[in-house]
Amino acid sequence: MSTILTLPDQSTATLPKVSYLSKEYGLKSWLLTGDHKRIAMLYLISITFFFFIGGAMAGLIRLELLTPPSDLLAADTYNKVFTAHGIIMVFLFLVPSVPATIGNFVIPIMVGAKDLAFPKINLLSWYLYVAAGCMVIAALVSGGVDTGWTFTTPLSTHYLNTHVITAGLAVFIAGFSSIFTGLNFIVTIHRMRAPGMTWFRLPLFVWSHYAASILMVLGTPVLAITLVLVVLERTIGIGVFDPTKGGDPLLFQHLFWFYSHPAVYIMILPGMGVISEVISTFSRKRVFGYTAVAFSSVAIAVFGFFVWAHHMFIMGISNYSALVFSLLTMLVAVPSAIKIFNWSATLYKGSITFETPMLYAFGFIGLFTIGGLTGVFLGSMGMDIHLTETYFIVAHFHFVMVGGMLMAYLSGVHFWWPKMTGRMYPEGISKLAAVITFVGFILTFFPQFLLGYLGMPRRYAAYPPEFQVLNVFSSAGASVLGVGYLLPLLYLTWSLKYGKIAGPNPWQATGLEWQIQSPPLTENFVETPIVTHEAYDYEWLESKKDHEVPTVG
């Protein structure tokens, strides 16, 4: 199988003497760093940690659902487990995954800057993330929360004695971590681009992060105030969501979903940015319709603010309002579809090779398309009334989030791993892991579409026996999926010491980050680059190869 991987001669190659990793040693130099690359690594470690905790919760869920009665976990415990799974996976993994690890690392380099606009706020963002994570663990360890990650009122405000306040405050803090990351990105992209780096020469990865950052900055505060109100209602009893005191529980949902719907775009847009880079690099072709992809990212962000009540069709909103939101939901699918078309067109007549990042990208395109289409089904009120709160919804969002976003994250981690660490991951086992993940994913989540359509409700520990066969398939798939996710943890750690030396540009990719050493210097560039070429300009890359300069673009 052909590959574009070009490594330096391993018998003589070494890591660069000076890099952001070797500049300073010691815990203090890491915990008080302003270097965006080090902060990205800190995030990588903490995000991985929380991912596996959330994954363990998922394991418990699938174990319980092997049999119809709730025999492994009591119903209340089961509620706590899926709530933990949801909160951790949404707020501590999916939202920060690509932006805080890959985005933090590459965006300043991609725009040609020495660092993000506000390095100290970047570090604060990480500390807030860790604090939020610790609070979630505290809530878990001291007895758990069983409201579901959606904290629906009046259940969360009046009917439960669990640690809703701790969990709510944890999410509040995680929200500010997210806001600060987004704020940093927007300012950096606007104000810190190198000479010649115009908006339309930016990699599409940057555009998608720009769009996601707008959502982070504008949407997350509404979640924050909503959680504050829930905490006030639980502590003092102010009654703003309490029907007996004249409040409206539905108001909570409006405010909650006003953030949480854009949140799904916060989660997926950075992943889409990764896919743009990966597809282009491994087809040796510029992304088809650059402008369309760039503008569709922003369009997703803008439209994403107008559709939140499609999560509330059965909750008691008026039919007229539901109609409006349903119509707008159909609209928001269009920009996402545009991206899929453009990526497919990029592949057409490209010189495609199948390295691991590309395998994950293919997985993304297939699975995200399925997940996205089922989202359109759910956006139509008539279908949603039957399918909502069933496993159809669970399958839908796992297809887009796990089949889509998580695959994009893994694709990105593998793609930029040589840049971040200077070493290559082992290609053979990584391809195997990608395939295992894909197979495991389909086995886990496709049966759930069927289950949902047949009527199995979500968030139930027990179910009627006729659903068992499909549930067993799903749980079997989950164990395969677990292997698929564990493997990268093992071989990526292994590669830190034993991986092949990567050199500055193992993928022969365009983009400023591939024109500097791996791992990069702390200040990224020796001299400020002056950009004269368009994005994904493979001809420019060819001409550069004649006079290879290792550090300057």
Partner: protein, 247 residues
């Protein structure tokens, strides 16, 4: 790619201010870029604040429409002199803060410190009036959840004799009004406290001359924050205090 051009450009930009003023962070090329970046960052933060308070305004809008008579009576029980006084205090404090920014821009150290102290005093004055009002609400059993009693609203209000006393079910809805009153003024007061504290720190550093040698951004951006908190109050005042005062 021409390193000589880059070096020349950086030097050109540098000579507008001194070559590398101590407050210029290393990842910025010029002081101008650093200042604009900081201001843009502060504006984005203010956007988050707009949305943060926005949720409360949304709740207010809905419940005022649902429980208008309760909101009228609730509003009548607030002291309009306190609200008007507080609004005046904040507007004057916005003026003093703007003057402080001006002093920083024109490099007048003592003037800057003076205007900042004036702003702090006015801010504290606002908080004192607010504390008095809150204490009053506590005494009158208007604190939701803690000691709320609708009894007062089921009797005639001597200040507004034309107001019909509320029936029990609507009187109980005044608790929603006060929930929003405390949530909104409380959140606003929290921002005031944070603002006054930050301003105290800024004033100490201003006394040492930190903001009167070209490094205007911190004062300027704090000013933006302060004005924003003023704007929130500009809306809170009519919405909470001035509901149907014509009786």
């Amino acid at each position: 790619m021409d390193s000589h051009t880059i070096a020349a450009q950086t030097a050109e930009a540098g000579h507008i201010e001194h070559e590398h003023p101590p407050f210029l962070r290393h990842h910025f090329a010029t002081v101008e870029q650093q200042r604009e970046t900081a201001t843009f960052g502060m504006w984005l933060f203010l956007l988050t604040e707009i949305m943060f308070f926005g949720g409360l305004f949304c709740a207010y809008l809905i419940y005022r429409n649902w429980y208008y008579p309760a909101f009228v009576d609730g509003s009548h029980s607030l002291h309009i002199w306190a609200g008007t006084l507080n609004t005046t205090i904040l507007i004057v404090s916005s003026f003093t803060m703007a003057m402080g920014v001006h002093a920083s821009e024109t490099r007048m150290r003592k003037a800057l410190v003076g205007w900042c102290i004036a702003t702090i005093i006015l801010g504290c004055g606002f908080l004192c009036v607010k504390a008095y009002e809150w204490h009053d609400e506590w005494v009158e059993h208007h604190v939701p959840g803690l000691n709320f009693s609708p009894e007062g609203f089921m009797r005639v209000n001597p200040a507004y004799p034309a107001d019909a006393p509320l029936q029990r079910d609507m009187a109980e809805k005044t608790q929603v009004y006060f929930s929003l009153y405390f949530a909104m003024t409380g959140m606003h007061a929290l921002h005031m406290i944070i603002g006054v504290s930050l301003l105290a720190l800024l004033t100490i550093r201003a006394w040492g001359g930190a903001y009167t040698s070209g490094h205007v951004a911190p004062v300027e951006n704090f000013g933006l924050y302060w004005h924003f908190v003023d704007i929130v109050w500009i809306f809170l005042f009519p919405l909470l205090y001035l509901i149907s005062r014509h009786q």
